[in-house]
């Protein structure tokens, strides 16, 4: 028997966020496919937007799960999300255009079994455990696929494993200069895993408010997107990478400003101090 310690009062219900996050993430992922159709790389930034949508949904799922007091700390939820998500995502990339759908289905199956193991075999007995782990696995797979699409312009296995190296003006195929071969996926893994667990970890407590946490989730998502845009520079054309970087910085600045505003709204009192105080007499 478990006590639910925090209630979600008011705000958007979890189901709405879940459906919106799933649909937005899938739509943005499929918009990156315009790269393949139009033979360009400028649509890669939609992959980053897909990760932001999935991360907003993910932070609310963590809130939903961790309000039962699972006793292992919030970061563990982010870790299991990406641990199970990466397996589903890598397998799904084999299926070309169907990859995002295959990733969602396979991640749901893996999450369902992990949820059953945690809830029944390990005797956790938390009502939302199975549903949450299913959602977490799907989010992990979608976020990683979003980063893959953003850094390489595509979510197919061949383009994730093959890159190009310029040697003396010649363009040679190389497996090392790629999303997988260069192990950029490991960085994408941590960028996502930290961005998904941080918002609830930072905002939990008696004065938790939904809009503030979701804004922080978007801010974390865009912050990770800035890093991902920089990492995409060797893999896609510089102008396409700069478009991603531009979108990420605009998004980050907007969400950061909004988050500070919401934090001031929720704070009991605050003092506007400067980062480096002026010392008198100098």
């Amino acid at each position: 028997m478990t006590v639910k310690v925090e209630k979600i009062e008011g705000g958007i219900p979890h189901t709405t966020i879940m459906i919106a996050g799933l649909i937005a993430s899938l739509v943005f992922l499929y918009l990156t496919y315009a790269n393949v159709i139009m033979g360009t790389e400028y649509f890669a930034f939609f992959g980053g937007l897909a990760t932001v949508a999935a991360l907003i949904w993910g932070s609310h799922t963590i809130k939903h799960l961790c309000s039962y007091g699972i006793g292992t700390g919030v970061p563990s939820a982010g870790m299991i999300a990406f641990g199970s998500g990466v397996i589903a995502m890598l397998f799904a990339t084999k299926y070309g255009i169907a990859a995002p759908i295959v990733a969602v289905v396979l991640a749901a199956v893996i999450g369902l079994i992990l949820g059953y193991l945690a809830n029944n075999v390990l005797n956790m007995r938390i009502p939302v455990m199975i549903q949450s782990l299913v959602e977490m696995a799907i989010i992990g797979a979608l976020v990683l696929m979003g980063y893959a699409a953003m850094m390489t312009g595509s979510f197919e296995l061949t383009s994730l494993t093959t890159g190009n190296v310029q040697i003396l003006g010649l363009s040679l195929p190389s497996y090392q200069a790629s999303f997988l071969g260069g192990a950029l996926i490991a960085t994408a893994f941590m960028l996502g895993a930290i961005a998904i667990q941080h918002p609830f970890n930072a905002c939990l407590g008696p004065n938790w408010t939904q809009d503030r946490m979701l804004m922080l989730a978007a801010e974390c998502g865009f912050l990770s997107m800035i890093t991902a845009a920089i990492m995409s520079m060797p893999l896609i054309s510089m102008s396409a990478a700069l478009v991603s970087l531009f979108v990420a910085i605009i998004g980050w600045y907007y969400t950061y400003a909004k988050y500070i505003e919401l934090s001031k709204r929720d704070a009991a009192a605050w003092l506007e101090s400067k980062p480096i105080p002026d010392v008198e007499g100098h």
């Binding site: 990406f82 992990l114 193991l117 075999v121």
Partner: protein, 278 residues
């Protein structure tokens, strides 16, 4: 009741039906792998992954995890969560073992185990250093009256109102054993997957074996990290919060984690194998 004070009441009881269902899923996955790929490299890879996963899930139970109470000196153990500690020990072992991958399974697995154990030994030592000299608290267990290894008595060093504090000798030893198991398990998963990918990828991608090495290493490493985290978090859910080490009553819950880790590894493993074999 605050969010931190609420402990989930997942008792030590074993749900027999769920355990049987878990074992049936495990056997189904093993059977499906044998039916699809025969008794070749892919089947051996699955068995290796399951053994590695069980080693990780079992090993996590040895690690003294204190969490937030330990940071305030109110419970024994290392002051962080299970997932962080297990990931630290396991990844340190995995990186150690990966360097020795060419020297065969036995040498590489032992190297991985030593890497994980060493990481935990250093962590435990500096944790105790900070507890004793920084926070000024002696090491005392709250779960036993005598240290099972040294025989030192514990209650007279324990502050009132706490569950013990610091890192008693038995917890230190438990941490090192946990690191050994975790490092060995993570390395074993990496090695079997690397062997499989180096064998299958050249044909699948139509490339020379030397060309696909970066892909094989990255894929095997990524899957190993993913499975490591899944197993570590499932073991953390089994412990639910804090554990002092092998002498803690919660340690007796490990059979559940062994079954859960085996099933989870098998499910993740068959997907990791199908990426090259289907």
């Amino acid at each position: 009741m605050s969010a931190i004070g609420a402990k989930p009441a997942a008792g030590a009881a074993v749900d027999t039906t769920a355990m049987v269902v878990g074992i049936i899923i495990l056997l189904l996955v093993i059977g499906a792998t044998y039916y699809l790929f025969g008794s070749g490299l892919a089947f051996m890879a699955l068995i290796g992954i399951i053994i590695g996963g069980v080693l990780i899930g079992f090993g996590v139970h040895f690690v003294p995890v204190g969490g937030a109470p330990a940071a305030m000196g109110q419970a024994p153990g290392i002051a962080t969560g299970v997932a962080m500690l297990a990931a630290g020990a396991g990844l340190a072992g995995l990186f150690g073992g990966a360097w020795a991958a060419e020297m065969g399974v036995v040498v590489a697995t032992i190297t991985g185990a030593i890497g994980g154990g060493l990481m935990m030994a250093i962590t435990c030592m500096f944790v105790n250093f900070i507890y004793v000299f920084g926070m000024g608290i002696p090491s005392a267990s709250g779960k036993v009256t005598k240290d099972p290894i040294t025989g030192d008595t514990q209650p007279e060093f324990k502050s009132q109102g706490t569950e013990g504090h610091g890192l008693p000798f038995v917890s230190y030893v438990g941490g090192v054993i946990g690191g050994l198991f975790g490092g060995a398990g993570g390395t074993l998963i990496y090695l079997v997957l690397l062997d499989l990918y180096e064998e299958e990828l050249p044909a699948m991608m139509n490339a020379l074996p030397a060309q696909i090495v970066p892909i094989a290493v990255a894929l095997a490493g990524m899957f190993a990290i993913g499975m490591f985290l899944v197993n570590a978090v499932l073991a953390a859910y089994n412990i639910t919060g804090t554990i002092e080490g092998p002498h803690d009553p919660k340690f007796k819950r490990f059979p559940r984690a062994v079954v859960a880790s085996a099933v989870a590894s098998a499910i993740c493993g068959i997907v990791a194998i199908m990426i090259v074999a289907v």
